[in-house]
Subunit: 203 residues, 2 copies
């Protein structure tokens, strides 16, 4: 079974926690629109933020139906037939209605959680959001009530007869690679590259 749906929390959470960029779809006058955004998970909720001026917010704050999608590409599967070529991946889809995190304290706590998830310790190093910045930031969250994962791993699922063909078959693995930090000009040389940067990973 190279491809399977999974519905257990552990599978869903482990995929959601392996990346931090998702796609959210919603309708603007019956036209589906996709917006990619950074996100984070807390318990059974996914959170993302948006500009308070964004059209995504204007659509979703009214309770419109949304689709949340997180996807990790793990490889290209080369089969002995054109038909059986495939991709290895891990994905989570969730359907629901997003809600606003409106309370100022809850917004701050959520942003801190996102920051700590990506770069533990950084929140206390940088300037905290001003009241104006907090006002300009909207946080949305969606409960993972109608969520499922889909995972494909392993090699090609070739038909028995195709194993007689003399062509290469296998998997070309693909990973998100985090590179060497590029320090901005103007950062004093006394400030070291933070250790959390080397611990950030995707996938």
């Amino acid at each position: 079974m190279p491809e399977r749906g999974r519905y257990d929390r552990a599978s869903i959470y482990s995929i959601l926690d392996a990346t931090f960029v998702c796609h959210v779809a919603y309708n603007i006058e019956q036209q589906p629109v996709i917006t990619p955004t950074a996100y984070w998970r807390t318990d059974n909720w996914v959170y993302w933020h948006a500009s308070s001026a964004s059209r995504m917010l204007r659509c979703l704050e009214g309770g419109a139906k949304a689709c949340f999608f997180a996807n990790l590409l793990d490889g290209v599967v080369f089969a002995r037939s054109g038909f059986n070529h495939s991709l290895n991946y891990r994905s989570v889809v969730a359907f629901g209605v997003a809600e606003l995190v409106d309370d100022t304290e809850a917004k701050l706590a959520a942003l801190r959680e996102f920051s700590e998830r990506l770069a533990p310790g950084r929140w206390d190093e940088v300037r905290s959001p001003s009241p104006q910045e907090l006002k300009a930031t909207t946080i949305l969250r969606m409960e993972l009530n109608e969520a499922s994962a889909k995972i494909r791993t392993g090699g090609p699922g070739d038909a028995e007869a195709d194993y007689l063909l003399t062509c290469w078959a296998g998997v070309l693995p693909i990973r998100m690679n985090v590179g060497v930090p590029e320090t901005e000009t103007g950062v004093p040389s006394t400030i070291p590259v933070p250790g959390y940067l080397s611990r950030l990973s995707i996938g």
Copy 2:
């Protein structure tokens, strides 16, 4: 200007040609649904394929509105304030109605084009689609009439006053890394790893 929309064909095509996985959104009874899929571009069209039994096909073949989205994550931007943290990326969004590529010869030509785009030369090495396989494969395409690109590059856009803060700032680059091919057990040792695998890149 770290973030900009672009509407010229060259910018849109260069992003579309840098990856081969997209997200497509469509409605099932007013519920937006996202499906990730492999795609390829030919002239001013994006193509993708699906199982003839897929619900995406059932929705789109009737002329439903679709949103096509291709996205490349290029980095995480660490600013001196929480608020100005950002992501570097290149994305293309296209709105429209998908159409079926129905003709058998056109389907075969499109699949060959996709294969040659990913792995030049492989199409002639593997078994061609049987009539049943071709029937089970649907090819959809959408013209890039209403398409735009969005690109963010460079370092953080910090406020002037924040440059006095003594925290690290810069970019953590992220790339899709294509790994070492994993040959499937059973492939005769006389068959070499094809050269096109080392030339496949994303981003």
